[in-house]
Symmetry: C2
Amino acid sequence: MINAITSISPPTFPLLATATESEYAPIVLTGVLLSLVVIYIASKLGGELSRMLDFPPVLGELIAGVVIGASALHLVVFPESGAIASDSVIVSILKFIDNLSPETLTSIFQSQSEVISVLAELGVIILLFEIGLESDIRELQKVGYQATIVACVGVAVPFGAGTAGLMLLFHVPAIPAIFAGAALTATSIGITSKVLSEIGQLKSKEGQIIVGAAVIDDILGIIVLAVVASLAKTGEVDVANVIYLIVSATVFLIGSILLGKFFNKSFVAIANVLQTRGNLIVPAFIFAFFMAFIGNAIHLEAILGAFAAGLVLDETDKRKELDEQVKPIADILVPIFFVTVGAKVDLGVLNPLVPENREGLIISTFLIGVAILGKIVTGWSVFGQSGINRLAIGIGMIPRGEVGLVFAAIGTASGVLDKPLQAAIIIMVILTTFLAPPFLRLTFGESQKQVESAKQVKQADLAR
Amino acid sequence: MINAITSISPPTFPLLATATESEYAPIVLTGVLLSLVVIYIASKLGGELSRMLDFPPVLGELIAGVVIGASALHLVVFPESGAIASDSVIVSILKFIDNLSPETLTSIFQSQSEVISVLAELGVIILLFEIGLESDIRELQKVGYQATIVACVGVAVPFGAGTAGLMLLFHVPAIPAIFAGAALTATSIGITSKVLSEIGQLKSKEGQIIVGAAVIDDILGIIVLAVVASLAKTGEVDVANVIYLIVSATVFLIGSILLGKFFNKSFVAIANVLQTRGNLIVPAFIFAFFMAFIGNAIHLEAILGAFAAGLVLDETDKRKELDEQVKPIADILVPIFFVTVGAKVDLGVLNPLVPENREGLIISTFLIGVAILGKIVTGWSVFGQSGINRLAIGIGMIPRGEVGLVFAAIGTASGVLDKPLQAAIIIMVILTTFLAPPFLRLTFGESQKQVESAKQVKQADLAR
């Protein structure tokens, strides 16, 4: 057997064959498979390392993306960030395997990048669908005015200060300034609520306000994103258009939730009638993708539709079963999003050793400052609560996480954000997510006695 | 509010806006989302309808694909089957939404088709990974010689008769003839075992032989496919190369199963150490995609690698948990494969009213005849068993199902199969899958008494 192989290998050994036209499609698939393997390994290494150091896994996935991407290893790079075929280590591996011509490699690189980008976009659609499935609308109604005010202040202050600062101090044009300002708005529910539950503060008055505000913040953030991204497409800020967009995004979200109440029953009925495999998950994805399509088609955002679809299906009896089935799909697709967001950014543009980068660095510092201070002030917007830990509420609102990354991704794809602004937003997301957990522990620890007494007050409140 | 919208809608209503360069990427996503919605709806309608009529759901998904594809509705069409942007109903919808130029539409059509094709390929990779996870190697060893002989005869006869017939009778060139002959080899485990269990014959002697042979058949079929697809790439049949390919495919499959025994423990250890979300499914996909990558990189097939990965992970303690998590992912990706295989074929090339189609029709009839007779004879290869229902065994081996479709898909993608041959294979798969269940019921029904007595003999055998 071994003799047979060695005797025939020179003329037919496939590694030496030159690719023909018909081999093009399988090579794109080879590239996609290798990219996915690299992305998954990076996401797991980063996520686990981050968890060991007591930071949220998503932070590690993002940083792992930065490491394998345009900033460092060049394993996974994209044409949008100015890379060409020969910059990509994966394309070089394909070249080694198949001995391809430069033209073929360029088209393979483009096709493969396109496919990975769409997979990442499907990942963020499913992420928002899942966030929608997990946000309980009825819970929100309980949290009440305090959370709403904290959320609105937490959106308005960073957005206003960020946009105005960029335009007036740094002379950034209106559209990118608005986009970057908007990227400062959304608080990450996941990160904050995880830290709060770790330090046993999730059910405290402060914890309830923070989580409620973070949920409302996410919804406001997605509406802001839809509006801002649509502005970016037309390229000009027209007050009438802004009003139209805010109204249409709000109407779309609230309208689909209201219409969803009727659709809910049909959905459960359909899932019960179907008897082939995927009787629940396929109809759910038809709905989520259709809503995402509508969101895109009316020039808002696909994720707005997916989020609305999640909110609607959250109201059905099938919620738990659906949650369970969406989980593995999200586990497979969502990391592609986080890692590629990291991979697409080139942190080299903020290298302090290069003099031209100085302005970008100053802008970046400014954005991070606004991102932190703009959320800390929210604690002082809480009214009628004596003895509340205002600083803890403000710090709890700091981490940006997923939605901030969605802003960065969409801003880059649409060409609105230049490289320094894009890198500044990513650094802002990394730093806010990085700083919030230890500071949250510190503030709550410092005021532990205060909290204990607040708890007693609350229990007295509940006992009444 | 309503007044505000109507007063501003003429200048800003997005449906009338002309797309700019930066909108290109979101429109590809819009097209992908809409295609997926159409594909999922078709798969569920077809699958459920097929189940109601007592046929396997996969048959309905395939026929639904034919209906929405190049043969009829043109909802989902592909450049490979000669379609251009204006042939696609989905692209026309995108054009209506965004008022795009013909050039933009062409590139959107190509990108979108590429993405859907890769999703379908990921679907078939996961399908084979799942089949691997479900095929128990130890079970196979029990079925023994009878099943092995039935499997080998059932691969050799249709392959030999099909290839020789196409070359000698119809003067088809060697490579397409071999490819079409190979497409006749694999029996579908799923369909046969489902029908057998429905009529209570799964545990009969005939049932055991059929299922065992179908499992071996699938493995042989995948090896044949890897060899034949590789031949198709080089474009010539070289005996030394054929031997090299058979040896390398077999070594790859058996080698990975043997090495897998060591890898198994590390895999379970890794899954146990990881504590972030996706701790089981992401390592499993890293392994499956890496094996698929290797399969592609050594110029065999990605699905061979995925199948081997499934066989390996089937041996771990995590099998059940993994099975459960792969299911929803397969439910979402596998239908894309079945529907697009149907959508890519143009049954119009076999329209009997067009005189030029006559040869294609005759070839098609010949292939279907070989496909049926070549499997029926396998019943008579069973030796040393008196009173066994040989016809039932032969008929049980007829349905082709998934692996036959994989042949058609790969043959089309590589350009080996021309349109009539491709359509003939699809019709062969549809007809064999369609005919086997009723005939199986009939033969087993007719010989019910014979079977009863055989059962008694078997029980006596076991009692000994």
